[in-house]
Amino acid sequence: MSEAYTAQELMVTAAAREIRDGELVFVGMRLPILAYGVARSSHAPSARALFELGLMRDVPATAFLATMGDPPNVAGALWATRMSNVMALLAQGIVDLGFIGGAEVDRFGNLNTSYIGGAARPATKLPGSGGGADIAILSRRWVTLMSHERRRLVDRVSYVTSPGHGDGPGWRARMGLSGGGPTAIVTTMAVLRFPEEGGEAYLASVHPGHTVDEVLAETGWALAVAPDVGVTPEPSPQELAEIRRLDPQGFWTARR
């Protein structure tokens, strides 16, 4: 990997490019907070952000955020309210894009953030859904970010906290899920995408410094590779400057 930026910084800019101008974005926490700031400062100057604890913003907070509830995220907000009002927008289907952090994801984009090894006697108890399941079911589309490890990108998750495309194309419609489901998985090595009609993730681009073979070796299923698989664009100097303005100590971007 280049010395010029960290894997997390590349993930931030890859996530930022998923945000289109004018969109209403359910931002969440950690890297997506930075991705929203990068998108606003570059190609999506009129995007708006929602935070599930009860906030809407346009410009990013002027100081570092370790959580969405840090006071700088409230100062200058467009709306400070209750969670159910923000969830109302999600339930109406007018949130364009959501971000969800994942612990374990499968080939259909289903996320497990609850139990590894079964709910009855879990080997690992993960924190749970938070707003993840709500975003996964109700937002028009969503993107997840995670570390690219074979134990995290699995054939099928053992517990579906936040449903992706279920067992394949058509599953969401059959189950009555209103949103469109996952469109991308941004990892520390690559960007995986899903077909328009849903279904199974494929390798869309590999980050600089990594190879297709390396990605396949760290993926727990036979990952399809796009015929035009490319290299994920590197962060621009302007994007890196924005990330470092929002996260000056590298709290989220591992420059500490």
Partner: protein, 292 residues
């Protein structure tokens, strides 16, 4: 009323208690720590996410059930006490009723409104439906049974002695938790005269008839932030995450910050640092309630 008296009177063993309802801000840590000091057992913890407070109560053995969307440490990750309880039954097993943030809100609204259930499309296709008995799939939509806390505890910016509380910033699920709860304990940063509160009735959080105790507890939300007063103490969360990784480390932490501390004033004398106090104050413009 002191926090010790409020907990003694209104949070007995077996209570279903809602806390941390604003999500990351305004978490009533002082109340939680007093619950631990008084050795409560058999509590049901109700909340959306819990930024470390539920983890502490579970580690201290106070809880038998968790009814929440997420339990961990928001800036640091996993809840280590929660893991030990769920994976190994230490210090004792807990029952987990998983929710999403939206579904726990709806469960509280159902109780607040006296509704038999709340219908929703969230959780369709999620395994949470199969592992939480309070959720039922009927004719293609989800029915969420009411969740009624015995008591809800909130830390707010200011209250008067009668329990008319002003809270601002994002409220999370505070209103539905307060309306659903049989009783509410208000912990406040500032105890003010009724005239201050009644000058702005739109900002009053809940009907005073719900409130059974008002505790003047400055710093009662530390290490969580409180708009206008306190920044989040990220270092305290990091320290807790590191030390709670083992049961022994958690015991040491608990002794230092909870069991060995008589009250919140003593705690804040140790925990408070100058940089945690909000320095950039941003006052809203008063509104006019003029009437004739």
């Amino acid at each position: 009323m002191s926090m010790a008296e409020a907990v003694e009177r209104f949070v007995p063993d077996g209570t279903q208690v809602a806390m941390g309802t604003c999500l990351e801000p305004a978490i009533p840590f002082a109340a939680g720590h007093e619950i631990i000091r008084q050795g409560r057992r058999g509590l049901t913890l109700i909340g959306p996410i819990s930024d470390s407070l539920f983890d502490q109560l579970i580690g201290a053995g106070c809880a038998e059930r968790v009814c929440a969307a997420w339990v961990g440490n928001v800036s640091e990750g996993l809840g280590h006490c929660y893991r030990r309880a769920a994976e190994r039954g230490e210090p004792h097993p807990i029952e987990i009723r998983d929710h999403s943030n939206f579904s726990i809100s709806l469960a509280l609204w159902a109780a607040a409104w006296g509704a038999p259930y709340m219908p929703t499309r969230t959780l369709l296709g999620s395994d949470i439906l199969t592992t939480n008995p309070d959720l039922e799939l009927v004719d293609g939509s989800v029915r969420i049974r009411p969740v009624q806390p015995d008591v809800a505890v909130f830390h707010v910016q200011r209250s008067d002695p009668a329990g008319r509380a002003h809270a601002w910033g994002p409220l999370g699920i505070t209103e539905e938790a307060g309306l659903a709860a049989r009783r509410v304990i208000i912990s406040c940063e500032q105890l003010v005269q009724p005239e201050v509160i009644l000058s702005d009735p739109n900002r009053i959080l809940l009907p005073e008839t719900k409130v059974v105790a008002v505790v003047h507890e400055p710093g009662g939300a530390h290490p969580s932030p409180l708009q206008g007063f306190w920044r989040r103490d990220h270092a305290a969360y990091r320290d807790y995450a590191a030390r709670s990784r083992t049961a022994e480390g958690f015991s040491d932490w608990l002794e230092e910050w909870v069991l060995g501390v008589p009250d919140r004033a003593t705690y804040m004398a140790r925990a408070s640092r100058a940089e945690l106090a909000v320095r950039r104050h941003l006052l809203s413009v008063p509104v006019d309630y003029g009437d004739e």
